[in-house]
Symmetry: C2
Subunit: 423 residues, 2 copies
């Protein structure tokens, strides 16, 4: 089936907000096996809204419309959809009660315009909104489905997952199941080359590659008569990918990020960690600290942006800085060792580099970054050359540091095991 | 004039990337005084691309089309535009030479498909692309203008600013001038209330409010016969806004961010700074370090996420942590003082809070954050209550810490001046 996304809101047309809802819904629809050929953005204007809905109905089976369900005069999405579909608006008692309850619980007064949110096109399936006052709606007509959802992502996303995905799943004669194999430490083009034969030969399941900063995600999607059949089709392909990418696969679970995989590895091995950053200035620590539960393993983070801080806090010798420069293999080493002495952590990661836009030379260009990783007495330093803006280079350095941490910890334990076997 | 944005790319339809180009172009168009009623996203499919261009031409004067100008078979934007506008593709010698040079400079071999990028619709104005191989194009026909730009933001943005904005400026019979008054330390709804009378009465110039995390931007836009006239209309309104928001206005320059304003204030007063973070875990330091030139003032950053790190690195007493808890006014104070002793910086900022999703209690709910700011012996602690996700709460805490730093530094100097006058 074909889906079309319509985002409603003058604030998107003015560039006041980035349309993250569209990216979210598009990714979910792809995972559901729905084809999407168009996304539209239109303002809070009834005539243009009606035209957009009419056009979308002429070329898609399912319309996902977000935004414009609020209580004000400007919110016209429901009115426009009702008009195009020829369904009058009627009062929905459960929504009226929910609005009453929402306001009472917060001790707020209900203004008259709030009741507008309890009106729905006749025959709608009403979707509860536990995070706001605007309910969602699904309206069916002539084999087409129009889904209306509130615009705020904190209301749209939970509603889509709780109510819309199960509904759309039932519409399809086949069940879609997908699993993502997440890889780090392998470049995008290399990863694509390594799976090209599988992609070229694919029918069901299909493999799609998604390049993220410092990572590649391979999504395997199968269509089956039921979930069991679809899962069965996905399984051998995931196994094949795991075999090809070996230890570069850090998870096959949607909810696991690279930083979570690293924190889980630290927790599993009872290792503590500290970070010492120059060009990334705290971004690496911030990403690790974004993982709930990290307090068990995170000892301390140091931001030594200036040479003075590198000398004073980490005890790096002035001569070493003068001889090699702050962005060098030697300083990345000295930073990791200095931080490990200071924090007594089992694992220490250091980052020093030239994020630009200035500061590059022919020998040490913008984008040159050294990452040091110290694991229980073993030190590894990696030289990286990144491209892009200052922000992009810093982000790439953080992802590479996480990948290097993972690699060094795994290597340490595999060598330890190997060493034991040798004896 | 009316503009319509068309973003081309299957990766947007699949939700692989967020369409930040559309938000960027939309904001720029609004500032240029162009009206935008629709944004479209379409994949790399010639038929659908042609249909989208035809529809957009029927309802807009200017089409800004981004993406699909690459060298592969999949890149079809130029071909589709040429077809709809009835202009054959011809070889553009300067672009051919630029492609040759781009590859030679990088020691790369040119494959045949790269020459496709030197073909342009007959009569096009060709826009140089110093950041890539795909040139941009402006094609005029029957009083309509079609602008083609490459999709990567690092290529699109510089091209739009260097070549497209001046061109669009010349098309308009009136000149648009806008200036943004950026405010921190005042909530969105309070800021809106404070300018409601101006907004209600506005015709030319107009005032638009943009809520950013921890900040509000007020954009004043005027239309005049020439730039001088437009500037003259903007000036008194900016002055009025500055009068109403006083020291909360941190800049009226587009290029100045809140972190840059803070770094500039530190530089101007020859003050050094250090940060000490718990729940923000390095994000505050990372934002300051995003400002080029910060190395002059940034002494060191400490990330003391665990209580142990707060005790060991900063010398905070165990009893103090037990008595008040890590998220408290007292610990924010102790962190700021500890970091100031350790780093000997003039200004020290501390952040401790509960970012969630877990860890909240009725007395100390998720979103409770204490920010400490120490300026040359004067200590201020602010209690904040933020809402939203873990990421949102951390981002709000960082913006508020920057605003508090600015406020405390300004206060310190105004009191010093006042004190001198008294004598």
């Amino acid at each position: 089936m074909v889906v079309e996304l319509i985002s409603v809101g003058t604030e998107i047309l003015l560039g006041n907000i980035v349309n993250t809802n569209a990216a979210y819904l598009a990714e979910k629809c792809a995972a559901l096996g729905l084809s999407c050929y168009y996304q539209d953005v239109v303002g809070d204007n009834e005539e243009r809204l009606c035209e957009t809905i009419r056009t979308a109905l002429s070329r898609a089976d399912i319309l996902l419309i977000s935004g414009g369900l609020g209580p004000t005069q400007d919110d016209l999405t429901k009115e426009a959809a009702a008009k195009v579909l020829g369904k009058p608006l009627v009062l929905h008692e459960r929504s009226k009660a929910a609005i009453q309850e929402y306001f009472s619980a917060r001790g707020l007064e209900i203004t008259d315009n709030n009741w507008k949110q309890a009106m729905v096109p006749e025959g709608s399936i009403v979707l509860d909104n536990p995070n706001g006052t605007a309910p969602g709606m699904i309206i069916e007509k002539d084999g087409k489905y129009v889904v209306l959802m509130p615009g705020p992502p904190g209301e749209l996303m939970p509603m889509f997952e709780a109510s819309v995905i199960p509904y759309l799943g039932r519409l399809q004669d086949a069940v879609i199941f997908s699993q993502t194999v997440k890889i780090c430490g392998v470049g995008e083009s290399k990863a694509e080359t390594m799976v090209k034969d599988l992609i070229d030969a694919q029918t069901n399941p299909t493999i799609a590659t998604y390049a993220k900063t410092g990572e590649v995600h391979l999504r395997v999607t199968a269509r089956g008569a039921d979930e069991k059949e679809a899962r069965k089709l996905v399984k051998p392909v995931v196994k094949e990918l795991k075999g090809r990418f070996e230890s570069h696969v850090y998870t096959t679970e949607d909810a696991v990020t690279l930083e979570k995989a690293v924190v889980d590895l630290l927790l599993a091995n009872k290792l503590t960690v500290s970070t010492v950053e120059s060009c990334t200035g705290g971004l690496l620590a911030a990403r690790l600290i974004n993982v709930p539960g990290v307090s068990e393993v995170f000892k301390a983070g140091y931001i030594t942006y200036s040479n003075k801080a590198k000398r004073r806090l980490l005890g790096i010798k002035k001569n070493l800085l003068l001889k090699h420069g702050a962005v060098s293999r030697e300083i990345a080493e000295a930073m990791a060792i200095g931080a490990s002495v200071l924090s007594k952590a089992d694992v220490t990661v250091s980052v020093t580099g030239i994020a630009g836009p200035d500061g590059g030379t022919p020998e040490k260009p913008v984008g040159l970054v050294y990452i040091g990783c110290y694991v229980c007495g073993n030190l590894t330093v990696k030289e990286c050359r990144f491209q892009g803006s200052r922000a992009k280079i810093r982000e790439s350095a953080v992802s590479s540091a996480l990948a290097l941490m993972r690699e060094c910890i795994l290597k340490y334990y595999s060598e330890m095991t190997f060493g034991n076997k040798e004896k």
